[in-house]
Point group: C2
Chain length 219, copies 2
């Protein structure tokens, strides 16, 4: 999604000069935008009906195109799911980029990451990102998804390590802490749709409170 | 599983009197034991190969019986998955029973529950318990599973509420705290098999440390 958005933004920002390339560039950007629309519609359909219960025919109908038209943009349903997964992950990665490059104690940057992560989970691609691995994908795609997830996990752990190093996070098992945090956040994908009384930012604030201060009352 | 185990234990504990009922009781207990063996073998096969990739033929072969023999104990694969789910849940429920009836501050009882829950997740039925809902079950069975899970969630939340009431847990959003804890624990189902460097008790201890004291270092 980011590439297409970036491309279309770049196109809007360019002065309108006549160029033999313009038509071709417009069509390339237009193609990317249409492809993005396919991915977004698929993500919403998968979340609504489930991956296996959504056919490419349904998807084509929802976009008011024919199935052969879909094939101009995506090779098959598995590839669409992967693109949905990647779009969700791109949001998380963008949040990580921000948190890694920001100033301030790593604990605060970790908490900013928690807010971004919660927003991504309730976003359009959250369901696909969390549930893609459960959809009996081929071994190659499962492996790619696992690898990309491991990358997020590594960066999250590095942020916690940075907090221990700068003293803003106390000494702890950073691997288990990352797993606990990721679990708390990912679990939102299981309950948020049925119980959306809080906004993602409010949920993130509650989680941050628990993880920051702990539960200990009087001893 | 518990019923059969209780029955067979009761049978062992009974004095060996001749009775016209003995043969019938032995056969009923024997039947329950065989049924439990089917459920356990299925749970292991589902975890190993996945629910959809395990056929009843595979299962029968692993037990060295014929498929028609399996049907003496279970009506279909979906029902087996449900029994696996229920067996995992029974472990959690037993832990909850213990923690609810124990003495001492509710925070300590909550932490004992975390230990029991972690053990159940890495146990034979943990995978089925966590992943059953992802297996595209019929609406009726999905609903039953959701209801049973909601019961666990309610009891877990009540334990946290009790901690706030007795002062051992500080004031917090108990619903979000329960979701954060459940998420951290359930997420084990996703990473534990690939990364079993810690025993479930050690993982539980790390989680307890994080949830008890929080992450806050120097301000």
């Amino acid at each position: 999604m980011t590439t297409a958005t970036a491309k279309s933004r770049a196109r809007r920002d360019l002065p309108a000069t006549a160029s033999p390339w313009t038509a071709r560039r417009a069509s390339a950007a237009g193609r990317a935008l249409k492809r993005d629309a396919v991915i977004l519609a698929a993500a919403r359909a998968f979340r609504e009906r489930g991956y296996h219960k959504t056919s490419l025919d349904d998807l084509a109908a929802s976009l008011k195109v024919t199935k052969p038209t879909l094939y101009l943009y995506v090779p098959n349903k598995e590839a669409i799911l992967f693109e949905c997964f990647r779009a969700g992950l791109a949001q998380i990665q963008a949040t990580l980029d921000d948190c890694e490059s920001a100033r301030g104690p790593a604990r605060e940057r970790l908490f900013a990451f928690i807010r971004g992560y919660a927003a991504a989970i309730v976003g359009d691609f959250g369901w696909c990102m969390l549930r893609a691995e459960d959809q009996h994908l081929g071994a190659a795609m499962s492996r790619r998804i696992k690898l990309l997830k491991a990358g997020i996990d590594r960066r999250m752990r590095a942020l916690i390590d940075a907090g221990v190093a700068d003293g803003s996070i106390r000494e702890c098992d950073t691997r288990m802490t990352a797993f606990a945090l990721a679990g708390a956040l990912n679990w939102m994908g299981h309950w948020y749709r049925d119980d959306a009384t809080l906004k993602p930012d409010e949920i993130a604030d509650r989680f941050i409170d628990v993880f920051n201060r702990g539960l200990r009352g009087r001893d």
